[in-house]
Symmetry: D2
Subunit: 130 residues, 4 copies
Amino acid sequence: MEHRVSYKVYYEDTDSLGMVYHANYLKFMERGRTECLTATGKSVADWNRAGIAVVVYAMNIKFKKPGALGDTVDVVSTFRIDSEYRGTFRQLVERAGELLVSADVEVVCIDKDQKLCPMPEELKRLAGTG
Amino acid sequence: MEHRVSYKVYYEDTDSLGMVYHANYLKFMERGRTECLTATGKSVADWNRAGIAVVVYAMNIKFKKPGALGDTVDVVSTFRIDSEYRGTFRQLVERAGELLVSADVEVVCIDKDQKLCPMPEELKRLAGTG
Amino acid sequence: MEHRVSYKVYYEDTDSLGMVYHANYLKFMERGRTECLTATGKSVADWNRAGIAVVVYAMNIKFKKPGALGDTVDVVSTFRIDSEYRGTFRQLVERAGELLVSADVEVVCIDKDQKLCPMPEELKRLAGTG
Amino acid sequence: MEHRVSYKVYYEDTDSLGMVYHANYLKFMERGRTECLTATGKSVADWNRAGIAVVVYAMNIKFKKPGALGDTVDVVSTFRIDSEYRGTFRQLVERAGELLVSADVEVVCIDKDQKLCPMPEELKRLAGTG
């Protein structure tokens, strides 16, 4: 199931080349994952209180077109389970249907001691496999 | 006239003390000023294309209570003209009516050569004095 | 006693106006305070492990001249004790002796429960009053 | 040829999970590339003034271990030319020899009109092929 959320590009997101600073697209995508997770009925803060954090361990990202100040960008996210311990968000950053950035974001869940833990049921449901 | 806009607190906004990193409140306030200016009918990108930037030259800020991951904060802004060349945004960052941060943000307008220019009509109208 | 530390301005620090984004000067100043505190013989991470955080509760800042990509800026910090519970960093951001930004940064110490605690001896020594 | 530069982890780099926020490693790596390019004898600001920007178009990154407040991290960079128009930085972020993050960062050069331009001689020399 596809999750969509929109954000405005502010000065904080841009750099002196006049476009969005490349690392800041990762912030937009992390906001998208946060909202996607929250849509499971449990916010990221709830997850943390339950002693679980969903963290990125690998990312493959392509910067195709630059965003600019004042743009509204859509973050489109889908999630799949790769194994008992791993999942992947496929994320697109679009502007009015035009693709700016695409990424595969591989995540794991860790507990309070930073130990790997199995994908919880909510994430399996998010992937449509729970 | 009071302008209000809301934002979610994401991981990017927090630091290892577990709260919002102090400098990031300035980003929330800058977003609030951007939306406030856009409400004049001209976006900040439009202002830039017209050769004008509204820039901060002084700020007096009080950090009263800390925001945390997952909070929704409201940025409440009002604007007044101080002189031909200067204006002040009074800005509050609130969480469900509770004051987190307050600031007086003094701004000037500069042109493409970074020369001071008089407050444009739109800003006077925003202040209710145009 | 004056503490000095230098930083380079990178793309991450700038915005689409071509200069350093105003909120990012607060990061430079926070780095300066961090190094200043570390010079007491206890790093900020040490302070945190000891259950104490030095946090900003008010800031009065003037942005005089803009910094740009590739600049080296010096953060110059002095500290004074204001009361049993409060102290102020006076901080300047300079570029080759030219003042870009100045600020009074009022700080308090809080413990793990975010309760106010008295200024520790190290901070009094930093202020030259311990 | 391997280029090395070190940075301290400050509060700004961390998030409420108590570690370095994942997107901020990209800032450390961009600083590393900036210093690497500057070592060609031409700073990034010089490159910009000459109408050329070296921009990231793809990135493959692995987050292996988390950095924390107060850590000193080394950014280790090597560069290779992939074609007339493309090059790749291989970058490692290490802490006392321990690998935290590794990435392949694919870059192109663009001119003032954001048109692709061939890799300049300085970059070929940086790659040891000029």
